[in-house]
């Protein structure tokens, strides 16, 4: 069972800072693929978009721990190995989220190289989950999914680590 927003580090920081201030958040995002190269997406319960498993870090955990935890919480799968291929740090062009809050998200993004378990299609944070070919991604698709897959392709073909 995940921490509630009010219990989470960034939830508490938001309560201290109030609604108007832009906060810097830090978290992890993960790309899982099946044997045929399809990508795992979850449908988020908060805004209905299809997204990569991801979330914000808690105080006292590592970004690796955060990646493993978010995959477990949102898909039921247990990550065994991962390889980071991008760190996104740029301020978003878009404005506030559905709660009226604005963040500059720092996102460590990793390819999951090994995992175990069975996919859970509905969780506390998701209403569905599935495997999708990169050329046939579902809508509404969360911003950043295509960009992440493009950067993973660059990492795998040219060894390019994305930092921006």
């Amino acid at each position: 069972m995940a921490l509630s927003w009010d219990e989470s580090y960034f939830g508490q920081l938001r309560a201290l800072a109030g609604n108007g201030r832009t906060l810097i958040s830090v978290g992890s995002r993960c790309v899982l693929r099946d044997d045929t190269g399809r990508v795992l997406l979850v449908r988020r319960s908060d805004n209905g978009t299809w997204a990569l498993p991801a979330g914000m870090m808690e105080l006292g955990e590592s970004l690796r721990d955060c990646a493993v935890r978010e995959v477990r919480e949102e898909t039921g799968l247990e990550v065994r190995e991962l390889t980071p291929f991008a760190v996104y740090t740029r301020s978003p062009e878009r404005g506030p989220d559905m709660y009226g809050h604005t963040y500059q998200h720092i996102t460590m993004t990793a390819r999951i190289d090994a995992y175990e378990g069975e996919l859970v299609r509905a969780t506390d944070e998701t209403t569905d989950a599935g495997w999708f070919a990169p050329g046939a991604l579902p809508e509404p698709l969360r911003e950043g999914v295509r960009r992440t897959l493009t950067d993973l392709a660059a990492f795998e073909t040219a060894g390019t680590f994305t930092l921006e």
Partner: protein, 164 residues
């Protein structure tokens, strides 16, 4: 000239959170080498340890920009480019700083690929600076220096990105 503590993002967070709360700090460090392979270290004005140039990110800048800014502010050198080789989370590595404040320091570790300018040995944030062979680091070098050099060596020989 950097922002004052009160003007900085993390200084603002500290004011909101009070003195006792552990905060997550996000920033970058730069490993600068001269043509002989010696490492640039600065002696910090706050605790007199020898350290890699580095510091905390400001809202609106990227971690790449943060690494470049910190090398400029703390050593006077202008990095042409940087290559990330590690992302340290330092979970539970908490200790009060000279102001009695504790942080979970997250830092993107960057190799500086070429630079312009002349080394400034004294800045607002440093009392000395110099180039040191990896086997002849000054007494009082922080543990982060050794770890960074080991991880950079692994990155350059095996392509391993250090994540914890």
């Amino acid at each position: 000239m950097g922002l004052s503590w009160e003007e900085s993002y993390i200084g603002g967070q500290r004011t909101l959170a009070g003195d006792d709360r552990v905060l997550i700090s996000i920033g970058a460090h730069g490993v600068v080498r001269d043509p002989d392979g010696r490492i640039l270290l600065i002696q910090r004005s706050d605790d007199r340890t020898w350290a890699l140039p580095g510091g905390t990110m400001e809202l609106g800048e990227t971690l790449r920009e943060c690494a470049i800014r910190e090398v400029r502010e703390e050593a006077g050198l202008v990095a042409r480019d940087v290559t990330p080789f590690g992302l340290y989370t330092r979970a539970r590595d908490w200790y009060p700083n000279p102001y009695g404040h504790s942080y979970q320091y997250i830092s993107l570790m960057c190799r500086v690929d070429g630079y312009d300018g002349e080394l400034e040995r004294v800045t607002d944030e440093s009392v000395d600076a110099g180039w040191f062979g990896p086997d002849a680091l000054p007494k009082g070098s922080g543990g982060l220096v050794l770890r960074a050099l080991q991880d950079l060596a692994a990155f350059e020989t095996k392509g391993t990105f250090a994540l914890d």
